[in-house]
C-alpha cells in the first residue's frame, strides 16, 4: 500500500488526530470570553488618532528596520555568495577549497535565528536602533550568500569556458556568461527576502527591539484589543502591498520572454529599470537610516562579559540538554506537519465555495503577518503553556506562508485536468485533489522540507513564550547573564539546525528526484 501523489501533501495532516485528542486536556477552563472579545474587536479596530499616530510611527520604524536590514544583507550576501561559489574559484584559481571553507564558516551565522542574534546584541551593546538592523543582517546575508552560490554552481559552465578559452578577461567573461542567467533567480529571491525581513522586523519588535511589534505586544498584554487590531490591519495592508509589489516586479523583470511576446519590450529595458530602482534605493536607505538614528559606530562599544560562575562549565553542562533538544525537535515536527498538511486540507475543505477561497487567503495573510509569539500569547488565554500550544502558534504562522505557496502552485498547475474531471461528473473537491494536487505534490512537499528547516530555527521564538525546548532555557540564561549557558545553547542550536538543514536537503532532493 503506497499512497499516490495527490495524497502525499495530506499525509502530514494526520497529526491533527493526536492534536485533537490532546488539546481538550490542555484547556485551563477560563479565557474564552477574552478570546471572544479579541475576535470581535477585529471588526471594530480603534480609530483614535493618538493610537493611530503611535501605531503608524511604530510601523514606520519596523518597515525602516526591515529595509535597512534587507539592503545590507544583499550588499554583504551577494559578494559573499560569489566568494563561496565553487564554480568561480575553480575557473579563476583552479581550486574549490576556499569556497568550501567559506561555506562552512557561513553556516554558523545562518544557523542561528535573527531573534537570538538580536537578544545577544542587546545584551552586549545595549538598546539602540542599529541592533535590530544588524540582527537581521547577520543571518540574512549568510542565507543570501548560500542561495547565490547555489544558483551560480547550478549554472552550466560551458558558456564561461567558451569565453575564457577565447581570451576574454576573467571578470568580463564572468559577468557576461553568468550575470544574465543568475539575475532572474536573484531578483526572485531578493524579493522574497524583503518579505521575510518585514516579518522578522515585526518579530524583533515584539521582543523589545523597537517598532510596531512592541506596540502590538503592549496592546495585547493590556487587553486593548481594538488598538491591537488597528495595528494588525495596518501591518496587513503594508504586507499585502509589499507582496503585490514584489510579485509584480518579479513578473516584470525576471520573465522577459513572456512579456516580450506580448509587447516587444526593447532590449535592456529591464536592466535599465533595475539600475534606476537600485539608484533610487540609495538615498531612500540613507534617509531611513538617518530618520531611525541608526549609528553603526555605536555597535563597537561592547559591555564587559560577566565572569564565569564559580563552578566553571559544570553548571551549564548539567542542564537537561536531552529533554530540551527532544522538545525542540518534537515542536519542529508537530508545527511543520500542521503547516504542511493543514494548507492542502483547508484548501480542499473550502473548494466548493467561492467565498471560502477568499476567507482562506485572509486567514493565511493574517497567519503570515502575525508574529508567532503573539499567537502563542493569545492561545495562552485558553490553553496551558505546553509544547502543543507552541506548535499551534508556530504552525499557524507557517501555514500562512505555505498556504500562499500552495495557492500559487495550484494556479500554476493549470485548470485542464481539474476541468476534465469536473466535466465527467466528479465533485469540486475530488477534482481539485486528483486534478491539481497530483502534479504539484512533490514540489510542494520539497518546499515543505525546506520550511521544516526554517521552522526548526524559529522554535526559539515560541519556545521563549510558551516555555518549551531550548527557547525557554535561552530566556532564563539571557536574563541571568549566564554567558556560559548561552554559549552552549548557541552551539546546541547551531548543531541542531545544521543537522536539520542536511536532513531537509536530503529529503528535498529525494522528493524532487522521484
Amino acid at each position: 500500500m503506497r499512497p499516490a501523489a495527490p495524497l502525499l501533501p495530506l499525509l502530514p495532516a494526520l497529526v491533527l488526530l493526536p492534536v485533537a485528542l490532546l488539546l481538550p486536556g490542555l484547556l485551563h477552563g477560563g479565557g474564552w470570553d477574552l478570546l471572544g472579545q479579541f475576535l470581535l474587536a477585529a471588526l471594530r479596530p480603534s480609530g483614535d488618532p493618538l493610537v493611530l499616530g503611535s501605531l503608524l510611527g511604530g510601523l514606520g520604524i519596523t518597515v525602516g528596520m526591515a529595509l535597512l536590514g534587507w539592503a545590507t544583507s544583499l550588499l554583504l550576501g551577494v559578494p559573499l555568495g560569489l566568494l563561496s561559489s565553487r564554480l568561480l574559484w575553480r575557473s579563476l584559481a583552479g581550486s574549490e577549497l576556499p569556497a568550501e571553507l567559506l561555506r562552512r564558516l557561513l553556516a554558523v551565522p545562518r544557523s542561528i535565528h535573527e531573534l537570538i542574534w538580536g537578544l545577544l546584541l542587546l545584551q552586549l551593546v545595549g538598546q539602540q536602533p542599529a541592533v535590530a538592523v544588524l540582527a537581521i543582517t547577520i543571518p540574512f546575508s549568510a542565507l543570501v550568500a548560500r542561495v547565490v552560490s547555489d544558483l551560480l554552481d547550478a549554472l552550466p559552465e560551458r558558456n564561461l569556458q567558451g569565453l575564457l578559452a577565447a581570451g576574454t578577461p576573467a571578470p568580463a567573461a564572468l559577468l557576461t556568461a553568468l550575470g544574465p542567467p543568475l539575475l532572474p533567480g536573484l531578483i526572485s529571491y531578493g524579493g522574497y527576502r524583503l518579505e521575510c525581513a518585514l516579518r522578522s522586523a515585526t518579530l524583533l519588535g515584539v521582543f523589545g527591539l523597537g517598532g510596531l511589534g512592541n506596540e502590538l505586544l503592549l496592546t495585547l498584554q493590556s487587553l486593548q484589543f481594538h488598538e491591537l487590531w488597528s495595528g494588525l490591519w495596518l501591518l496587513l495592508a503594508v504586507m499585502l502591498a509589499l507582496e503585490a509589489l514584489v510579485s509584480a516586479l518579479r513578473r516584470r523583470w525576471s520573465m522577459p520572454a513572456r512579456l516580450a511576446l506580448a509587447q516587444r519590450q526593447p532590449v535592456g529595458r529591464s536592466s535599465r529599470e533595475l539600475l534606476l530602482v537600485a539608484a533610487a534605493l540609495v538615498p531612500l536607505l540613507l534617509g531611513v537610516g538617518r530618520a531611525l538614528a541608526v549609528d553603526p559606530a555605536a555597535l563597537l562599544h561592547w559591555q564587559a562579559l560577566p565572569p564565569l560562575p564559580p563552578g566553571g562549565w559544570q553548571g551549564a553542562l548539567a542542564l537537561p540538554w536531552l529533554a530540551m533538544v527532544g522538545q525542540t525537535v518534537l515542536l519542529t515536527l508537530v508545527a511543520a506537519a500542521l503547516a504542511v498538511g493543514g494548507a492542502p486540507l483547508l484548501l480542499l475543505l473550502v473548494a466548493p465555495w467561492p467565498w471560502g477561497g477568499w476567507l482562506l487567503r485572509l486567514l493565511w495573510a493574517l497567519g503570515r503577518l502575525w508574529p508567532p509569539p503573539l499567537t502563542a500569547l493569545l492561545l495562552l488565554f485558553v490553553f496551558k503553556p505546553s509544547l502543543l500550544t507552541a506548535a499551534l502558534a508556530l504552525g499557524f504562522h507557517n501555514l500562512g506562508i505555505l498556504g500562499r505557496l500552495l495557492l500559487e502552485g495550484v494556479e500554476a498547475a493549470g485548470p485542464e485536468r481539474e476541468e476534465a474531471l469536473r466535466c465527467s461528473g466528479s465533485g469540486t473537491r475530488l477534482a481539485l485533489l486528483y486534478g491539481r494536487f497530483s502534479g504539484l505534490a512533490r514540489a510542494y512537499l520539497a518546499y515543505g522540507a525546506y520550511r521544516a528547516d526554517v521552522i526548526l530555527r524559529e522554535t526559539v521564538v515560541v519556545g521563549m513564550v510558551a516555555g518549551t525546548g531550548l527557547g525557554s532555557q535561552l530566556r532564563e540564561s539571557l536574563s541571568a547573564f549566564a554567558f556560559d549557558q548561552l554559549a552552549l545553547l548557541l552551539a546546541a542550536y547551531a548543531l541542531l539546525t545544521l543537522l536539520g538543514e542536511d536532513l531537509s536537503d536530503r529529503a528535498r532532493r529525494a522528493l524532487l528526484r522521484a
Binding site: P6, L7, S424, S426, L430, Y434
Partner: protein
C-alpha cells in the same frame, strides 16, 4: 415520461438551440442549432478558429452560452450540485491533450471515470489500493491493451497506449454522449485510423458521438457531417451526400468564395 414530454420527437442525446457565444472581434458561435440522436455518429468539420472547440465546450457543459439552450437528454443544465454531477457523468469527453493524470497508475486513471459515482472513502482508497481490478481489466481488453499495464504509471506509456488508456477511461465512465475534440490531430495515420475505428465502435445506441476533425478524408463511418465556419453552421447533412465544393467553401481563404458556394450568404 417520454409521453408527457412536450417534445414530439424522441428525446435527443444532445440538443443545441440557437447557441450564441460572444468573442473578441466576432462571435465564437452565432446561432448554432443541432440535434444528436442516440446511435448517431457526427463529424464536425471546419477551418482553425471556426468555433469547433467552443461548440464542444458548450456541449460538455464547460462553457455557458450567452444565449440559446443546451439540452442533454431533453433536460437543461441541472440546478443542484448533485443533479449536475449526475448529468455530467453522462457526458464523456476525449480531450485532444488526453488530460490523463501523469503521476497516477493506469488503473487509478481508469477509475477516475467512476469518481462521479464514488464517494470520498472510495476515491481516497483508489489512491492507496488497486480498486475494481476486474472492470479495469475489461476496459483495457476492449481496447486491446495488456492487463499488465494496470500497475504502470501513465507517464511510462507510449503515445498510442496513452490514447487507448484515455479511451478506456471513457468506457469506465460509460457516458451516453461521447465528445472528442480533434482526437486524431497529433497521431500518425495508422494510429488515427485505429482510434477512429474504436470511437465509432463504442458509440452505438444508446450512445451518440460528436467528433471534431480537421481532415475531411476520415469521414468514413460517420452518419452525418456538420460544417462550421466563423461560428456559423455552413451545412448539416448525411456524410454520404457531402460534395467536394462544399468542402472547398468550408476551407476557402476568402469570405466571397465561401459565400458563393454556401446555401445562404454569410453576413
Amino acid at each position: 415520461m417520454a409521453a408527457l414530454s412536450p417534445n414530439p420527437q424522441p428525446t435527443a442525446v444532445l440538443e443545441l438551440r440557437r447557441i450564441h457565444v460572444p468573442g473578441r472581434s466576432q462571435p465564437r458561435l452565432d446561432g448554432v442549432s443541432l440535434r444528436l440522436e442516440a446511435g448517431e455518429r457526427v463529424a464536425l468539420l471546419g477551418p482553425s478558429g471556426a468555433g469547433k472547440s467552443t461548440l464542444l465546450a458548450v456541449a460538455n457543459g464547460l462553457l455557458h452560452p450567452a444565449a440559446g439552450e443546451v439540452l442533454w437528454q431533453g433536460e437543461p443544465r441541472a440546478r443542484g450540485a448533485r443533479a449536475r454531477r449526475r448529468q455530467q457523468a453522462r457526458i464523456g469527453t476525449l480531450w485532444q491533450d488526453l488530460r490523463l493524470i501523469e503521476e497516477l497508475t493506469v488503473q487509478q486513471n481508469l477509475n477516475c471515470g467512476r469518481l462521479a459515482q464514488w464517494g470520498w472513502p472510495r476515491a481516497l482508497l483508489n489512491l492507496l489500493l488497486p480498486l475494481d481490478t476486474g472492470a479495469c481489466r475489461d476496459a483495457l481488453q476492449q481496447l486491446d491493451l495488456a492487463p499488465e499495464l494496470l500497475e504502470q504509471p501513465v507517464s511510462l506509456l507510449s503515445g498510442g497506449q496513452r490514447q487507448r488508456v484515455a479511451m478506456a477511461r471513457l468506457l469506465r465512465q460509460n457516458p451516453t454522449l461521447l465528445l472528442a475534440d480533434e482526437p486524431l490531430a497529433s497521431l500518425d495515420p495508422r494510429l488515427a485510423q485505429e482510434l477512429l475505428a474504436l470511437l465509432l465502435r463504442h458509440s452505438q445506441a444508446p450512445r451518440a458521438l460528436l467528433l471534431s476533425l480537421h481532415r475531411p478524408d476520415l469521414l468514413q463511418g460517420f452518419d452525418r457531417v456538420i460544417g462550421l465556419r466563423q461560428g456559423r453552421l455552413l451545412f448539416d447533412q448525411p456524410a454520404a451526400s457531402l460534395q467536394p465544393q462544399q468542402l472547398q467553401a468550408l476551407y476557402a481563404e476568402s469570405e466571397q468564395a465561401a459565400a458563393a458556394a454556401a446555401p445562404e450568404p454569410i453576413g
